[in-house]
């Protein structure tokens, strides 16, 4: 189906535009070590297909099927306090140390800023006019839009503050059955076929069946 091609295109597009400001994965790790997303350059973007809709009014009985695919794009950041370490760790002047401490940025504020800027980056890449085909060329997708976004609560536990959130990105495309492996061929031209062998050898009582009498044809 096209939605997998589109998902790969989204990942490729984001990676091509990351510019060392974030990293992109196809699906989220099941146990993520926070050190892997520590810092502005390691902010994590995960692209996953979440759900799809097939509107009745725009689908044909024997042709293409409109698919509004919604991808959940997770945004994860992990931020530390920001302080002028060069001064704080080396100066012998208490007033300079005090000034460095006073000017420090708390990690919860830094995480908030890191997430906001990542959200802006991702939205900007996905919705840039030159990316209206997600790099797939003409004829694959009909429309795309960010339909909503949600910012989570910061997790202050730990040496770093971790903050997650996501946006839903919807892409309209056309899906066409292609007779993949495991799909019976349409031999009758009816749009469907039944190709199942019933091999019945006993009835519900466990007694042997007279296949001929009960009209059951043994399978081969």
């Amino acid at each position: 189906m096209q939605f997998t091609i589109v998902k790969n295109a989204i990942v490729a597009l984001l990676r091509a535009n990351a510019g060392g400001l974030f990293q992109v994965m196809h699906s989220g790790p099941q146990r993520l070590d926070v050190d892997l997303i520590a810092g502005t350059d390691k902010r994590l973007v995960v692209v996953e297909y979440e759900h799809g809709e097939f509107p009745d009014t725009v689908n044909s009985i024997d042709g293409g099927h409109i698919h509004d695919a919604t991808y959940r794009i997770e945004l994860l950041v992990s931020s530390a306090a920001q302080v002028d370490l060069a001064t704080l760790d080396t100066t012998t002047d208490p007033a300079a140390r005090a000034a460095a401490l006073a000017a420090a940025i708390d990690p919860i504020d830094q995480a908030d800023a890191d997430w906001d800027s990542l959200y802006s980056l991702i939205w900007g890449i996905l919705m840039a006019p030159q990316n209206d085909d997600l790099g797939l060329g003409l004829g694959i997708i009909a429309n795309r839009k960010v339909i909503d976004a949600q910012k989570g609560n910061a997790i202050p536990e730990g040496d770093r503050v971790t903050l997650g959130g996501f946006l839903h990105f919807q892409v309209r495309m056309v899906e066409t059955p292609v007779g993949e492996t495991g799909t019976p061929a349409d031999e009758q031209g009816l749009g469907y076929s039944l190709d199942t062998v019933i091999n019945a050898t006993s009835d519900v009582t466990g007694a042997g069946m007279d296949s001929a009498e009960q009209g059951v044809k043994a399978g081969t």
Binding site: G28, P29, Q30, R31, L32, D33, V34, D35, A38, G39, V46, E48, R72, E74, L76, S78, A80, A81, Q82, V83, D84, L85, A86, L88, D89, D93, P94, A95, A96, R97, A98, A99, L101, A102, A103, A104, I105, D106, P107, I108, D109, Q150, G152, I155, P156, E157, G158, D159, R160, V161, T162, L163, G164, F166
Partner: protein, 137 residues
């Protein structure tokens, strides 16, 4: 002299916090004053119990756990010439990890993470954050 049970427990903090598990630490208050000696005996270093814990937190919508690291620095209040108060930003210099000879690293006690203080028996636990060099503007 106070011979009460609380006084006995507070005295025991010298063993359970500053005993064999004690790690020399250095604190810097919001005025830039550095504290690295024990207020009860300034010829001794300021010692703390430093734990390097790990937690699992759920951050994203999929519910996959994120492993985060949490450093807890517990000090005997009577050993501190000044006790960190709520809302104050302090520098804490501690070993980066629990290995012997680990280099010291700068952490910050920040406004967003409250200290925990067992004032009835006289200790305070700090939950410092990693600190990074602020980007030049």
């Amino acid at each position: 002299m106070d011979y009460g049970l609380r006084a006995q427990i507070e005295s025991d903090l010298a063993d359970c916090i500053e005993g064999e598990f004690g790690v020399p630490v250095s604190l810097t208050d919001p005025n830039g004053v550095v504290y690295d000696t024990n207020a009860n005996n300034t010829t001794l270093p300021l010692l703390a119990r430093v734990l390097y814990d790990q937690r699992k937190e759920t951050v994203n919508k999929s519910g996959d756990p994120v492993i985060v690291y949490e450093t807890v620095v517990t000090l005997r209040r009577s050993s501190l010439a000044r006790v960190p108060a709520a809302g104050e930003r302090w520098k804490v210099s501690i070993p980066k990890d629990s290995t012997v000879g680990a280099p010291y690293s700068t952490f910050l006690v920040t406004l967003g993470r409250a200290n925990e203080s067992g004032r009835s028996i006289g200790y305070i636990s700090l939950y410092p954050s990693d600190a990074e060099q602020v980007a030049s503007s």
